[in-house]
Symmetry: C2
Subunit: 354 residues, 2 copies
């Protein structure tokens, strides 16, 4: 049975301590650890000695390609073979894919069993770990199947970040910049005064990002309205991501959101009178950490087409969360196709700007 | 987004009136009608003229065999092709399989869209239509994947029952007898004073059965404890059903529950001092409508084995809801293997009794 969000702020600390404290307070009939090839190798050893001997270790292939219903079926099969009952608990040890898929696996198994998120990537720690969204991709479209289900606990250890390549720190950085842009101008200053590669201890920044997301989700857990501000950068971003994945282009979620944020800064300026000067300053801050992907004008129509599949839309209109100022967001703005394409033109201008 | 149970008692009447009233009050972006081969032929014509022209009709094969994840995928695929957004609504036109599967399809599509149950079998009308359980089978085990999600509305028309064969009326009769046994001695008298084949208007009986289930579910929607009384007959019943389906035996859910209730009347006598005389009277009433299936002693172990997979179990113990008197139930009783087998022996004795 899924937990509630209230009083369930993620815990940050040493994973051995956090997890053994949690396990000591519970009496699950069976533990299941879901990991991918990478977290099996690098992260599982950090917790293995505190897991009961009969723990089921379910390993899935790494990457977005395995975030599908077939992978879920492989996990359910193992859980059924192990005779997992409703009193079993799934520990999701991994990044966003493991957390999203593992949450869905648990939310649907026997109509819902407990699960714990142990996010191991910076992106998952600052973003996917809060919010109670679970989901998988279907037929190439992102997160089409899923449910709202809160984990029993979210346990975060910055030690997991030591093995992360720089590109994956950047990947999370975009979401952190997003948190600042939609809700906290001081946090924006703090972030843009430093570079991810120089940060020795991530704890305080992770806490600030989580606090922003946690508060937004608490006010609107089922995303009726206000929570949609978290989608800033995601209307264009998801469309670019889906399009790029179909092209088998190497792009990370955060990078797509970075591209999307630059485009949506333009939309914020165009539609909500966000200042032109700040639009440029913010865009250049985001651009610093992006690979130089130029979107060819002939692909605009396809990207626009992908945005039509977005879950956020209603009645065939493209919807976006935009900002009126740094730290101030509006959840639901209608975007027409012409402005959508003009935003991609602006992005191309920014990314080519020296 | 799923609705809540409160103030959402099923509506009974003419389906044309009920459905057009509902549709007039809502503004869905897309309607999806889920039906099986039978309801496509016999029931869809009764509502077709009030559906918008662009309604997506998704037809699945009839029967429990299609209650699986592959069938869900076929429906999701069609919904995605039709570009269904979060403001779409699924109308489940059919018996238990269509309602359970269609509810799951809707509960998980884009993290949950609206759905309406239009149960067309008597069993679905008295049982599956209330409770907010959705689910599908997985690897031969019943309802292993699913979620709790309330339909926006449940619309019932007894006109659908006219095409039902007698065996399917009996199939529901067992669940109605169950409602009486766990909660309402007067209803038990009313039911056992007549035969399903003689009933001209089902409305009042359907209302009484639904009222019992509705009240139980309202008190405990997520089946933490009290709601489990609805499982009377289902611990043995589900095990017999799973075992029989694996043997490719022709058995209906209600029939399995009928068998299960006879066995669990014995367990109620043995474990909760339910009177021996009433045990026999009740068992004979149930037996009247059962096919003469004798469970060979050599299959007891296999049936017991299936009961181990039951979602109701915890910590490896077999759990059952039992009764202390007609109309009085206890939700969670532990049953040992020896008593489980003795209950099957009792069932065999009853079914062979002339």
């Amino acid at each position: 049975m899924s937990a509630t969000l209230e009083n369930n702020f993620p815990q940050i600390g040493n994973i051995q301590n956090l997890l053994s404290t949690f396990l000591a307070k519970t009496s699950y009939s069976q533990l299941v650890v879901l990991c991918d090839e990478n977290t099996h190798q690098y992260c599982l050893p950090l917790i293995k000695n505190i897991l009961p001997e009969n723990t089921l270790i379910a390993k899935i292939p790494a990457g977005e390609v395995s975030k599908n219903i077939e992978t879920c079926q492989l996990v359910w099969e193992q859980m059924l073979q192990k005779n997992c009952d409703r009193n079993a608990c799934v520990l999701n040890l991994g990044g966003g894919v493991v957390g999203d898929l593992g949450g869905f696996v648990a939310a649907v198994y026997k109509r819902g069993i407990d699960f714990v998120q142990i996010p191991t990537s910076l992106l998952a720690q600052v973003d996917a770990s809060v919010g109670g969204k679970t989901g998988i991709d279907f037929q190439g479209a992102k997160n089409i199947l899923g449910s709202f289900a809160q984990p029993q606990k979210v346990l975060i250890d910055v030690a997991f970040l030591q093995t992360l390549p720089l590109r994956h720190l950047y990947n999370a950085w975009f979401e952190m910049l997003k948190h600042a842009l939609i809700a906290d101008a001081a946090y924006w200053q703090e972030l843009t005064n430093q570079r991810p590669e120089d940060i020795a201890d991530w704890t305080s920044l992770i806490e600030q990002s989580i606090a922003i997301k946690y508060e937004v989700v608490r006010l609107d857990p089922l995303e009726k309205s206000w929570r949609k501000i978290l989608n800033f950068g995601h209307t264009v971003g998801h469309a670019v991501e889906s399009w790029a994945l179909q092209q088998q282009m190497d792009i990370l979620h955060g990078e797509a959101v970075g591209i999307g944020m630059i485009a949506e800064l333009y939309l914020s300026h165009k539609l909500l009178h966000f200042s032109e000067e700040k639009m440029w300053t913010c865009a250049k801050q985001i651009k610093k950490y992006l690979p130089k992907i130029i979107l060819q004008p002939q692909s605009f129509t396809e990207i626009l087409h992908w945005s039509m599949y977005d879950k956020k839309n209603a009645q065939g209109e493209i919807m976006a969360a935009l900002i009126t100022d740094i730290g101030k967001a509006q959840p639901q703005c209608v975007v027409c196709a012409v402005d959508f394409e003009a935003a991609l033109v602006f992005y191309n201008k920014v990314i080519q700007y020296e």
